[in-house]
């Protein structure tokens, strides 16, 4: 089957690969580019573990062909912060015990990232609505909500 050349920018780095059109974006990110922070959970667009930002919008990378992302800017969890210098959302998950096993966390954090861009001072209802597409089987969500609140406050104080 013919392959298609795609060019994407992931976390500020440019990549160019020949891919099969049927290659899913999540497999491209993990297996071709080698960024394994993006997790594969349910593979059925439900759990949100594979969430990345595509041109700034949170999407489920298991429900997108890599060829659809040709030309796009993608942010994965590796693009947010780094050891010793966590992004405020990552710090919030750490400080507020927003994770236990950590499997849902990369997707949860990127969903939270979009949420906080849309609502810098979100209500609890807005947070719950904003992470509806992300399932966590450990925390019961309460600590995740507190983590996002923590991040919202920190981000707002940084802007001032």
């Amino acid at each position: 089957m013919t392959r298609t050349t795609i060019e994407v920018t992931i976390n500020g780095m440019r990549y160019r690969h020949e891919v099969e059109p049927r290659l899913l974006l999540v497999h491209y990110i993990r297996d071709v580019v080698g960024l394994t922070g993006t997790h594969i959970g349910c593979e059925t667009s439900l759990c949100g573990a594979c969430t990345v930002l595509l041109n700034g919008a949170a999407v489920k990378s298991c429900t997108l062909f890599a060829v659809q992302a040709d030309g796009a800017e993608i942010t994965t969890i590796e693009g947010l912060g780094e050891a010793g210098q966590l992004h405020p959302i990552q710090e919030g998950f750490w400080m507020k015990h927003g994770l236990q096993c950590g499997y849902c966390t990369p997707g949860m954090i990127l969903a939270a990232y979009q949420l906080l861009q849309r609502y810098p001072d979100p209500t609890e209802a807005q947070i719950r609505h904003g992470i509806e597409g992300n399932l966590c089987r450990c925390t019961g969500y309460q600590h995740i909500i507190e983590a996002i609140r923590y991040a919202a406050e920190k981000l707002r104080s940084q802007k001032v």
Partner: protein, 287 residues
């Protein structure tokens, strides 16, 4: 879950897309936001040999006013419908419906045209599209035609669109004065699909008598439907809680409800009646 191999095309305008459709006919599938098609391809329930990606057909992404109608391009994402000031003012029912589709990630990718053309029996839009008496514009290399909402949904996963036709535009009426609308749903917890979703449009005259009532129900039957018996029980009446409750009791009349592991047929019929009443009450309170 790896889809079967396919050849990929990415037209940049409607004309190119139609040429490809004519060339590959029913061996081709149109890819809009992909949130109906890609899951089916991953399960290999769909194995198109050719995929025509409409993602770069920018001419189909718009929401604009035209007289007392609002026109929406078929490639408009759910999030754009949800957040459109024009729709919130002129046709809030559609924006409200879009706001509860799936989840934030799904709404970023999914498109109104893709959802309607897929005609999932548990999709949200069909309830509102029916209640609004919306019209769908389909084009092919032979020309174009408008399809009324009630003619558009033919059966489960089946629309009136013919091979070679492309859904390009949805037309909804700007709502008249003294009109209240509401969309209320109960979602399947994991997927967000509607076990039952009810869209209501109510218009009252100056004496407070119901002039127009339209009720669209999705998730309950193999295809979304208009609850005509409910509408008839409302028209010409002064609406109070008891009139709306009595009308809602007819919400599943003449319907053969779906049954699956999430909800029995009896439960779906029950949901239709309960959520019809809630949607009516909410629409009425918004007039």
């Amino acid at each position: 879950m790896i889809p079967a191999a396919f050849a990929y095309f990415r037209p940049t305008n409607v004309k190119e897309a139609l040429t490809l459709l004519d060339q590959y006919k029913d061996e081709a599938k149109l890819l809009a936001g992909g949130h109906s098609l890609i899951p089916l391809m991953k399960l290999r329930l769909a194995q198109p040999r050719y995929v025509i990606d409409l993602g770069r057909v920018r001419e189909l992404e718009y929401i604009r006013e035209s007289g007392d109608q609002v026109l929406i391009g078929a490639m408009t994402r759910h999030v754009a419908v949800e957040t459109s000031d024009l729709l919130r003012q002129r046709c809030p029912l559609l924006a409200e419906t879009a706001s509860v589709i799936g989840d934030a990630q799904v709404r970023n990718m999914g498109t109104i045209g893709g959802s309607l053309a897929h005609a999932d029996p548990a999709a949200d839009y069909p309830a509102a599209i029916l209640a609004l008496d919306a019209e769908m514009r389909a084009v092919s290399s032979q020309g174009e035609r408008w399809i009324r909402a009630e003619d558009f949904f033919v059966d489960m996963l089946t629309t009136a669109l013919q091979p070679g036709e492309l859904l390009v535009e949805i037309k909804v009426p700007a709502l008249p004065p003294r009109t209240g609308t509401a969309y209320v749903k109960v979602a399947q917890k994991a997927s967000g699909f509607a076990l039952c979703g009810v869209a209501v449009v109510l218009t009252m005259d100056q004496q407070g008598v119901c002039q127009h009532a339209a009720v669209g129900i999705t998730g309950v039957a193999p295809k979304a439907y208009r609850a005509r018996a409910v509408e008839q029980a409302l028209r010409g009446q002064k609406l109070d809680a008891s009139v709306m409750a009595a009308a809602s009791a007819k919400a599943a009349e003449g319907i053969d409800p779906l049954e699956d592991l999430h909800a029995s047929a009896e439960y779906r019929a029950h949901l239709a009646r309960v959520f019809c009443r809630r949607a009516l009450e909410q629409a009425h309170a918004r007039i």
